[in-house]
Amino acid sequence: MTTETHRDDLASKTGMWLFLFTEMLLFGGLFVVYSVYRYRNAEAFHLAAEELSVFVGTINTIILLISSATIAMSITAIQKHNKKLTLLLLGITVLLGLAFLVNKYFEWGEHIREHIYPGSPILASRGQGDVLFYGLYFFMTGLHALHIIIGLVFICVIGRLIIRDKIVHDNFVLLENSGLYWHLVDLIWIFLFPLFYLIT
């Protein structure tokens, strides 16, 4: 079929927002589980949360906030015909995302070394509240980390398109869409952070 391709940036952006809604509902289901089990095991959740490092969590939160700012600024950069700055800002975004993942790797590593992970008998022996807290912790931060990886891949693909001048100052909806996806990943963490680290 050869219809002449007419561009509709608003359709593209609306489509991306609708996709973000599905991601919100996806994590929303997990927030339902969190609310229920937190209500039923309030004390255990308090105590388990104290075992997480607020310092690392705060650093990670700030890393993602900065990365959101840099990718937002990259859109201003490309509108101002500044291809180099656009790519620099995207590069910083990716590096910050990777830094987040490295932090997460060490955080998880510590827990796993102490035999705290879903299905471990040591965790089971600590009681049901702990099992649920850490089950939710690993599942939700794990799913979130998966979305960070997807987001980073998306941004790299967009970066390539910018280098090849397929995304330019008057045709950049794909860059906007990658930004929207990244901001969503940031939004989810904005809620995960207090729910796991700050409820002590």
């Binding site: 079929m1 050869t2 219809t3 509709d8 608003l10 359709a11 609306t14 489509g15 609708l18 996709f19 809604f21 599905t22 991601e23 509902l25 996806l26 994590f27 929303g28 289901g29 997990l30 339902v32 589980v33 229920v36 089990y37 039923r40 095991n41 879903p118 299905g119 089971a124 009681g127 049901q128 509240g129 099992v131 649920l132 089950g135 939710l136 690993f138 599942f139 799913l143």
Partner: protein, 535 residues
Amino acid sequence: MSTQRTIEESSYLEHKGRFKGIFSWIFSTDHKRIALLYLFSILTFFAVGATLGLLMKFELIAPGKTIMDAQTYNAFFTLHGIVMIFAVVIPGLPAVFGNFLLPIMIGAKDVAFPRLNLMSWYLYVIGVSLVLVSQFAGQGPPDTGWTFYAPYSFRTAGNMLPAVLGAFVLGFSSILTGLNFLVTMHRMRAPGMTWLKMPLFPWTLYATGWVQLLATPVVGITLLMVVAERTLHIGFFDPTLGGDPILYQHLFWTYSHPAVYIMILPAMGAISEIITTFSHKTIFGYRFMVASVLAIAFVGYFVWGHHMFTSGMSGTALYTFSILTFLVAIPSAVKVFNWISTMHQGSIDLQTPFYWAMAFIFLFMVGGFSGLILGSLAANVHLHNTHFVVSHFHFIVFGGTGFAFFGAMHYWYPKITGRMYDTRWANIGLVLFFVGFVTLYGPMFLLGMNGMPRRYFDYDEVFHAGNIVSTMGSWVLYSGLAIIIINLFSSLKSGPKAPADPWGGKTLEWTIPSPPPVENFDETPVITKGPYDYN
């Protein structure tokens, strides 16, 4: 707008594009071809599901083992449910008639994202393949029912992972279809077609799109949690680890109840189109029809607990869900009233699609009333998990969506294929189908009220007579179905050619040739009138 084909134009069926043969179909991004790809797949899986149903009914013709043992029966009703729900009725009308008709009815060349549309179909094929794999690989087919209730779903030896992942992938297909339709309607309506000049079938696809988009991810994450439970022993639904199996039910039904609105809303849209056309009168209460469709989609999001009345929920939850369930029935009643009022003092043309629509209204009302009975807390205690429930949902899903699907087939067949079918055989098939249907499912209300449980391969002798009648009904239904399908298939080659507007319809699809050209319209239409302007 020309309804005569010029020599250069060919229909979408004859169009020669980049690919040849079967590849011109499975690589096509033309919404009309994708619709037919879905039609072919969905009819195939309907045949699979219907055969399973036929065999299940045969098992139930007598107490004790007839042709299969208990474990096999469990596997049968599980696959029957998964196939019918996820592979037939949920994609059903949107994927076939939505894909084919939506762009045309709003004056567009295609949907907003044609390649995403094709991907939706690929995901559908992958999803059903995974479900089929679950039947033959591993330690035996799943036996949990299509509802995958915890904790059995993570303790059973049956092959859960491919089935659950297959459902997950099918959900993704549904989400992408909904997303595509929503953006299409927001961005691609023809000039002059304001929202309130859009016909009712697209409106139902709009409401359905929101449900597909916002409800499906919840079952997606729930199924992933079941996978985590099975593989990692994460503990969310395992009572020995502190989890609550009822939470599984909450999450599962938070999707699966809105899912039934995915099934019924487009069906209601198709019925609105059919009734309007064959009454030769504009739909009664267009704005109320639009409002009720949106209301059903919204309120339907919050009634899921009525599947769980006997599970052990709190009293507060029981009352809340029961009241909301009663509320959601009101907009449906508005629609039935408006359909009847449309017919009143209309110039009725008794054609096959109209007979299907009338059957729909009757069966939908029986299904709806039985739903209200089940929505009453006191009655539910007695009727939950009996054949009363089985009858209720077959009346409303099969009698509702199923009949609307066949009605839509007979309504839009000339447009899609360019041919007419044999009306006499179509009507004979319909009568047998209807009589078989009522005979098959009617007795189940009484059987259920008298205590026959569902999902059991055996039953007490006192239920025997009702089951004999019901099983014989399935044979009559099946013969009607065979006649209908044979008629539609044989007319593809031998039926008389159909004109652009065989029925006197007023919506945009009847202004273009049958079958339509690839790009639907010679020129983008400009809309000045409402959708059903019979004056």
